[in-house]
């Protein structure tokens, strides 16, 4: 019972996520929106991936540029497993396919981890980058395991389900993803509180000191890397279940970079930061890429803004408000926020307009697309829209600087008060 009382937010989150697809439910035709479900499944998979990445970056301070290797190899293992089950060679319940991916990730995490954890800091980043390149090139080259460029395809409809579900609909797959994502998230959260998880923090904070309390920091990192490989592999296994195909994309540097972007934008310091970041990145990727060629540019700019101005990530920014929330003075920030909103919006719109204008003059023109806002076609060769964009950008930036300064003062004053109040009792 105490377990329930203490951890109710988790269960609430689970319930909300289970109910969420019904917002997009087409009641007239009586079926779920396939797009929304696939998008949410994608978020679920990428969230596991990002959380497992944060086991390295946030928990152990290891900056990897090749985490997708573990994700992708897990996915390949899961795909082969499914094909073996279908061929009748082995028996495995459908629901446990992601576990096969996880074990694959665990295995490769163990083997590759031995290699990469010999190094620290920048050399670790480089060796993971090298491994990522190596594996993605190998994926294109070898037919047997990777299936070359075509990848490995599967048919996820199997007869071995424990629950008697055939996973023919996106809804069933979503439930599978959600279930595994929930279990994986709980396990990763618990892992943080184990001796290994804490020592991973310790080696992140002070590599050498960890040795002098009796631990081999390399071993700690190796084990942490292996476990991260397991969870990445679970994500890979789920990926296969959603898309029924696994190609070299899954091990590529782009995939690795996605995890890094998600974790950093969301915030490596808080457990749910990576999930938040995943939602932002996947929505930008899937949503904005429909509207704009330049989604990666937006993600890149957002990333840089976070690195420069908010290295704590979105979760960290939210967390900074906690002292004000506790002292009940959060609403005093409402006005400063409102005042900063118009210039921020202006800056944002100016930037977007400028990017889109550029994008449509070159790439869009080459693809025969036209730039239209609300049905109104905009001539990208006339100077007017450009002038508007640049003006909005410039004025917005200038105005925001002033408001940001005022905001800063107010914020500092409020925090000072909050600190005094916290210290007073």
């Amino acid at each position: 019972m105490t377990l329930l009382r203490r951890n109710w937010p988790w269960l609430v989150a689970l319930a909300v996520l289970l109910a969420f697809p019904f917002l997009f439910y087409d009641w007239t035709r009586g079926r779920h929106s396939g797009f929304a479900l696939t998008l949410m499944s994608e978020i679920g998979v990428m969230a596991i991936f990002a959380l497992s990445y944060n086991m390295l970056l946030g928990q152990a301070g290891l900056l990897s540029f090749g985490h997708a290797v573990l994700f992708g190899l897990g996915a390949y293992c899961a795909a082969h497993t499914v094909n073996l089950v279908k061929a009748g060679t082995i028996w495995l319940p459908t629901e446990l396919v992601p576990l096969a991916g996880g074990l694959g990730g665990l295995f490769f995490g163990f083997v590759l981890g031995w290699l990469v954890t010999k190094q620290r800091a920048t050399a670790f980043a480089m060796i993971t980058l090298g491994l990522g390149e190596l594996v993605s090139a190998a994926a294109l080259m070898f037919m047997g395991f990777f299936g070359g460029e075509g990848g490995i395809t599967i048919d996820r409809v199997m007869d071995t389900s424990l629950l008697g579900v055939r996973y023919t609909s996106p809804w069933q797959v979503y439930c599978l993803v959600l279930g595994w994502a929930f279990v994986a998230a709980v396990l990763m959260r618990l892992q943080m509180q184990t001796p290994l998880g804490r020592m991973a923090n310790a080696t992140r904070d002070n590599f050498e000191r960890a040795q002098f309390v009796g631990y081999d920091p390399r071993r700690v990192r190796w084990m942490q890397f292996t476990l991260a490989g397991f969870f990445a592999g679970v994500g890979g296994g789920l990926y296969v279940m959603i898309y029924e195909i696994v190609t070299f994309d899954t091990v590529s540097a782009v995939k690795s970079a996605n995890a890094l972007l998600a974790v950093y934008i969301g915030g490596a310091g808080a457990f749910f930061g990576p999930v938040l970041g995943t939602i932002v990145v996947v929505l930008l990727q899937s949503g904005v890429s429909l509207l704009s060629n330049a989604w990666l540019l937006y993600v890149g700019v957002l990333f840089i803004v976070m690195v420069m101005y908010a290295p704590v990530g979105l979760a960290g920014l939210i967390g900074m408000h906690a002292p004000l929330w506790r002292t009940g003075r959060l609403r005093e920030l409402l006005l400063p926020y409102l005042r900063a909103l118009p210039p921020a919006l202006m800056l944002f719109l100016g930037f977007v307009l400028l990017v889109e204008l550029t994008s449509f003059t070159t790439i869009g023109a080459a693809q025969g697309k036209r730039f239209a806002i609300g049905g109104q076609t905009i001539d990208t060769t006339s100077p007017l829209p450009w002038a508007i964009a640049v003006a909005a950008l410039g004025v917005g930036a200038f105005w925001l600087r002033r408001e940001a300064h005022a905001f800063r003062l107010r914020w500092d004053a409020l925090m000072e008060d909050a600190k005094r109040q916290a210290g007073a009792p």
Binding site: P195, M199, N206, E208, R209, F212, V213, G214, Y215, D216
Partner: protein, 250 residues
């Protein structure tokens, strides 16, 4: 005869062409509080680094609790029952004070690399960490990030992490460096308390701390031991006075 806690014989260390430690022989008996003093650059901290395995020795041999430390990694020497602190505060700055202490406890309590024990449920372990925090006078700072502590608090935490594992040989590298008088007094009391029944070896510049705490004193000058004796004898030793104490008194 009992095995000495630490025994160094003809230990040498050179960095490139420079010999920093030049043939040190030193035996430290179990239960002794031993201070190593000497002018700057004498190689005191280097000696600590050699004993604790931070650097390999160039020649000679070191035994800890009767076992040779040749080829052992720092963590393996730690597991022989030797623990050290650092001259420049070395803690886990982004973890809480409590977590810092608990990290110091984990290995000796047999948790090793476990990823199946939930630390929240380890009542005995947590109680022990809390008891130690109270002894360090850090009880009310329990949930503060270690990096945010004051300097003296961080030094206390440093000692706490060092002794947490229950090692019977404790090496403290300038535990009171940079402290005010009152802070130093508190630190001396703390060190006296926590080293009860253990072997303590410390490098220290503050002579009042040295003569107040140590049973024996070793004087290291330019990588060589010029005297190793009781405080009273050291005080009266002409060579020491000339090489070291004299310059301080003057």
């Amino acid at each position: 005869m009992t095995v000495p806690a630490i025994e160094l014989s003809d230990v040498r260390k050179n960095f490139g062409a420079t010999e920093i430690i030049r043939g040190v022989d030193l035996g430290i008996a179990r239960g002794e509080r031993h201070a190593i003093i000497g002018p700057n650059g004498a190689g005191k901290t280097t000696l600590f680094n050699l004993i604790s395995g931070r650097f390999p020795i160039s020649s000679g041999s070191i035994t800890v609790n009767g076992k040779s430390t040749a080829g052992l990694a720092p963590q393996e020497i730690n597991r022989l029952g030797l623990s050290r602190s650092f001259q420049i505060t070395s803690i886990f700055p982004r973890m809480t004070v409590f977590e810092n202490i608990r990290c110091g406890l984990l290995w000796s309590r047999g948790y090793r690399y476990s990823f199946w024990h939930l630390l929240g449920g380890q009542k005995a372990l947590n109680a022990e960490a809390d008891r130690l925090l109270d002894r360090l006078n850090l009880g009310d700072r329990r949930n503060v990030q270690a990096g945010l502590l004051s300097y003296a608090e961080q030094r206390a935490l440093e000692i706490g992490i060092t002794i947490a594992g229950g090692a019977d040989i404790i090496l403290l590298d300038e535990p009171t460096a940079g402290m005010s008088h009152s802070e130093t007094d508190a630190a001396v009391e703390l060190i006296r308390g926590v080293s009860e029944g253990k072997t303590l070896i410390m490098v220290e510049h503050d002579m009042s701390v040295v003569f107040g705490l140590a049973d024996r004193i070793t004087v290291l000058v330019y990588g060589e031991v010029i005297a190793s004796d009781t405080p009273a004898a050291i005080r009266g030793n002409a060579a020491v006075q000339e090489a070291y104490l004299g310059t301080i008194a003057a």
